[in-house]
Amino acid sequence: MNQLPLQGIRVLDLSWIIAGPTATRFLASMGAEVIKVGSARRPDPSTRGPAFQAYNQSKLYASLNLSKPEGLELVKLLLAISDVVIENFAAGVIERLGLGYDVVRAARPDIIMVASSGTGHFGPHTDYVAYGSLLQHYTGWNSISGHPNREPVTGGLWADPWVGMELAMVTVASLNNRVLTGEGQYVDFSMAEALSACLPEAVLDYQMNDRVKDPMGNRDDWYAPHGVYHCFGSDRWVAIAVTNGSEWAALCGLIGRSDLTSNSKYATAEGRRQFQDELGTAITEWTMQHEDIEAMRLLQQAGVPAGPSQDILRVFQEPQLSEAGYFNRVKTRDGEERDLPGLPWRFEGTQAPILTEAPVLGEHNDYIYGGLLGLSQGVVAQMVEEQIIY
C-alpha cells in the first residue's frame, strides 16, 4: 500500500477565512503536517460556526501573537523547519507584519511562500480590498451567469473554494520543482485572475465575433433541450441535457412523445434550440408526474443525462456521496458522530486520506513549541503569560 504522497512535508499556515485554509486542508488531508497559526487577539473570522470545521480539518493549531516582536521570532523558528508557508492577507499586510519573502527566505532559503490576495501583489490595483463574492463580479464570472435582461446574479460561492484548490495545486507544483532544482519559490497569486482564467469561451468569442454575450440561464449554445423541468413537489426540478440525436429519441420515447422524434422541426440541435419553449412544455407534462430523483433514474436508464437540482442539505444526504466513500464519519469533540466532508479524488491502493475534526486554537501548542521547537515548559508558560503564545 502506498503512503500518502505529501508525507514528510510541513506547512506553516498563516492564512485565514476561506481560500488559504481550503488549500491547506487539501495538503493536510493528503499527508502534509499543517500548522495553522492564529491568535485570540484577532481570531480567524470563520471561527464561529460549522464552516470553520470544514475549512480546517486535519490540521494542527498553534496560538501565536504576531503583533509582539517575540511572536515574530517564534514564527521565524517555525519557518526554519517548514517547507511551505501560505498567507492570504490583503496585499502588503504580511510585509508590514515583518514577514515579507526576504525575511521568510532568510529563515529558510528553499521555502515555498504562497501569497494569495484579491488582485495579486503588484500592479495599479494591488491594494484593492476584496471579498470573494465581489471578485466574482469583477472578474466577469457573474457576467456570463444569470438571465438576459435581468439584474446580475447575487449568489454563488465560487471564488474562495476555487482559489483554495488552485492554491493547493500551485503549492505542490512548486514542491515538485524544488525536488528538480533545489529551489524555493515566491508565488504571487491573484484570486481575480484565477476566476477570469476560466472564461476562455467568453474571452475568445469577444475577440472572434466582437460579441459580449448575454447570460443564458440554463440554456446552452449547442445542446437542446437543455434546462431544468418542474417535477412533482414544491421547488423540485430535474436538469436534463440532450447532447445528441440518440438521447433526443430516448427522451421522446420515455415521455411518450415519439411523435416529436419524427417531426423534422426538431431533428437537429439547432431546431430544438429554436423551439425549446414548446419542447419544455411537452417535457414538463411528464416531469410533473414524477419526483425529481425518480425522473433522474428513469432518464438515466433511458440514456439521457439528467439529475435533480438540489439544495445543500439534499446533497449532504446524497447516497452517491456516502456509498462512494466521500464522507468520513468522525466523533467530534461534542460527542456526536458526524459525516465530515472528504476529497474529490481516490488514490487507489494508497492509505486513506486524513480527514479529522478541525482543531481549536492552541490545541497543539505543546507539540509545536515543546516537541518541534524544543522550548522548555517554563519558557512556554512565560510566553503564554506575556500573551506571545496567545
Binding site: 503512503q3 500592479g123 484593492y128 469583477y138 515538485n176 519559490q185 475568445l204 439528467a306 437540482s309
Partner: protein, 396 residues
C-alpha cells in the same frame, strides 16, 4: 528561449476530450510539462464546440479548443486499432502521467487500463476523471456541466432569492464551471501523485469525480448540514424573514449604476463608516435602523433601496474607484469587454497572445500566479493542428 516552468522533463499524455481532462493537462503544460495530446482521428470533441469566428464551425478554430490545448503537442491515434494501441503503449512507456476523462470510452475498455500500463511503466500516474467517479449508485450515470452544477447544490444558491421558487428555477453558471473544477481537482491530485513519485518512486492510479469536485466547493454547506443546520432558502419571503431574525451573513450585494452595476460589501463597522463618506454622509445614516451592523443586516431590504437611489447617478467604475479610495470592498460588475481593457490585468500581463496558423492572433487568459524563480511557458506554442506532430513524435 522557451521558459522551463516548474516541471521540466515531466512527460504527460493527454487522452482527454472536451474540457475536464484537457484542462487538467493544460495546467500541467503551462507549468512546463511536455504534454502530448492524443486525439482520435476525428479529433477532440472540443474542436466541435464554439465559439468559432462568425459562428462557423471549423476543426482548427474552436476558441474553447484553442484555449484548452495551447502549449501541447498533438498526435492522432486510433486506440481501438492494434497499431494505435501499440503506439500508445510505446508512448506510455516514456510518460510520467496519463490523463483521461471517459466517456466516450475509457483506457480500461480499450485494454489500456492502469494494470496493463503499469506492467510497462511501474511508476506511471494514471488520472481518470469521470462524472461520478468509479463507485456508488451513479457511477455509470451520464452528466454534463448543467447536471453537475444542479446536483451539487451550486444552482440552488446562484440566482439569489426569488419571489416564486416554483416559477423561477435554479440556474447554472455560464461557461462550463463544473467541468473546469473537475479538471482542477484532477491537476491538484496529479501534482500530489507526482510528488509521491519523485520522492518515493511510487506510481498512482487516481480516480476523480467531477460531481465530488463540485460538492467539495461547498464544504462549508456540508459542515452546516453535518451540524444540523437547515439549507438556506430560495424563497425571497423566507430570506427576508431570516434577515429580520438576524440569520443572514455579511451585508453585501449589487447596486444599479447609470451604466451597469457595482458590487459592494461594507460589512465591518469601520468599512461602513468609510462607505458613508463615499456617499457624502446622508442624513438617514444616523437612523436607528441603520446605525449598527445588526440593524443594517435586519433592515437590509430598505437600506438597499436607499443605496440604490444614490448609486444610479454614477457609473460603476466611478463608484468602485471612490469606494476603493476609502478602502471599502467594492468592484464594478465587469463584462469580458471590461476585462480586456482593465489596466491592472494589462499591467500584470494576464492575457497572453499567440499566433495560430489557422485561427490567427488571439489573446488567451493566462495563469493566476507569478513565480519568483520560474517563468512559465504560457506561450510556448499555440494549440496543435489535428495530427500536427504525428511524424515528429510517433515515427521515432
Amino acid at each position: 528561449m522557451t521558459p522551463k516552468g516548474l516541471l521540466p522533463g515531466v512527460r504527460v499524455l493527454d487522452v482527454g476530450q472536451g474540457i475536464s481532462g484537457p484542462y487538467c493537462a493544460k495546467i500541467l503544460a503551462q507549468m512546463g510539462a511536455e504534454v502530448i495530446k492524443v486525439e482520435p482521428p476525428a479529433g477532440d470533441s472540443a474542436r466541435r464546440m464554439g465559439p468559432f469566428p462568425s459562428d462557423l464551425p471549423h476543426t482548427e478554430k474552436s476558441g474553447l479548443f484553442l484555449a484548452l490545448n495551447a502549449n501541447k503537442y498533438g498526435v492522432t491515434l486510433d486506440l481501438s486499432s492494434p497499431e494505435g494501441a501499440e503506439s500508445f503503449r510505446k508512448l506510455a512507456a516514456t510518460a510520467d502521467i496519463v490523463i483521461e476523462n471517459p466517456p466516450p470510452i475509457s483506457l480500461e475498455e480499450l485494454g489500456l487500463g492502469y494494470e496493463s500500463l503499469q506492467q510497462i511503466n511501474p511508476g506511471l500516474i494514471l488520472t481518470s476523471i469521470t462524472p461520478f467517479g468509479r463507485r456508488g449508485p451513479y457511477k455509470d450515470f451520464k452528466a454534463t456541466d448543467l447536471i453537475l452544477y444542479h446536483m451539487s447544490g451550486h444552482a440552488h444558491g446562484l440566482l439569489g432569492a426569488v419571489k416564486d421558487p416554483d416559477k423561477d428555477p435554479p440556474i447554472r453558471a455560464g461557461g462550463h464551471q463544473a467541468e473546469f473544477v473537475g479538471g482542477l481537482a484532477a491537476a491538484t491530485a496529479t501534482m500530489m501523485a507526482l510528488y509521491g513519485k519523485q520522492m518515493k518512486g511510487q506510481g498512482s492510479q487516481i480516480n476523480v469525480s467531477s460531481f465530488e469536485a463540485m460538492v467539495t466547493q461547498l464544504i462549508s454547506g456540508l459542515a452546516n448540514s453535518a451540524w444540523g443546520r437547515p439549507a438556506p432558502p430560495r424563497d425571497l419571503a423566507m430570506v427576508e424573514e431570516a434577515a429580520i431574525g438576524g440569520m443572514v451573513g455579511a451585508i453585501g450585494g449589487i447596486l444599479p449604476c447609470n451604466d451597469g452595476y457595482v458590487a459592494i460589501s461594507p460589512r465591518e463597522d469601520a468599512q461602513w463608516e468609510r462607505w458613508l463618506v463615499v456617499m457624502g454622509n446622508p442624513t438617514w445614516s444616523t437612523d436607528d435602523r441603520y446605525s449598527t451592523r445588526d440593524a443594517r443586516q435586519k433592515n437590509s431590504p430598505s437600506l438597499w433601496k436607499l443605496l440604490s437611489d444614490w448609486s444610479i447617478n454614477y457609473s460603476k467604475h466611478e463608484i468602485a474607484r471612490l469606494g476603493q479610495e476609502q478602502r471599502v470592498p467594492c468592484f464594478p460588475v465587469n463584462t469580458v469587454l471590461d476585462l480586456m481593457s482593465d489596466e491592472h490585468l494589462a499591467h500584470r500581463e494576464f492575457f497572453v497572445e499567440m499566433d495560430h496558423p489557422e485561427a490567427g492572433t488571439l489573446k488567451y487568459p493566462g495563469a493566476a500566479y507569478k513565480l519568483s524563480n520560474s517563468d512559465l511557458p504560457l506561450t510556448a506554442r499555440p494549440a496543435p493542428l489535428l495530427g500536427q506532430h504525428n511524424q515528429e513524435i510517433l515515427e521515432v
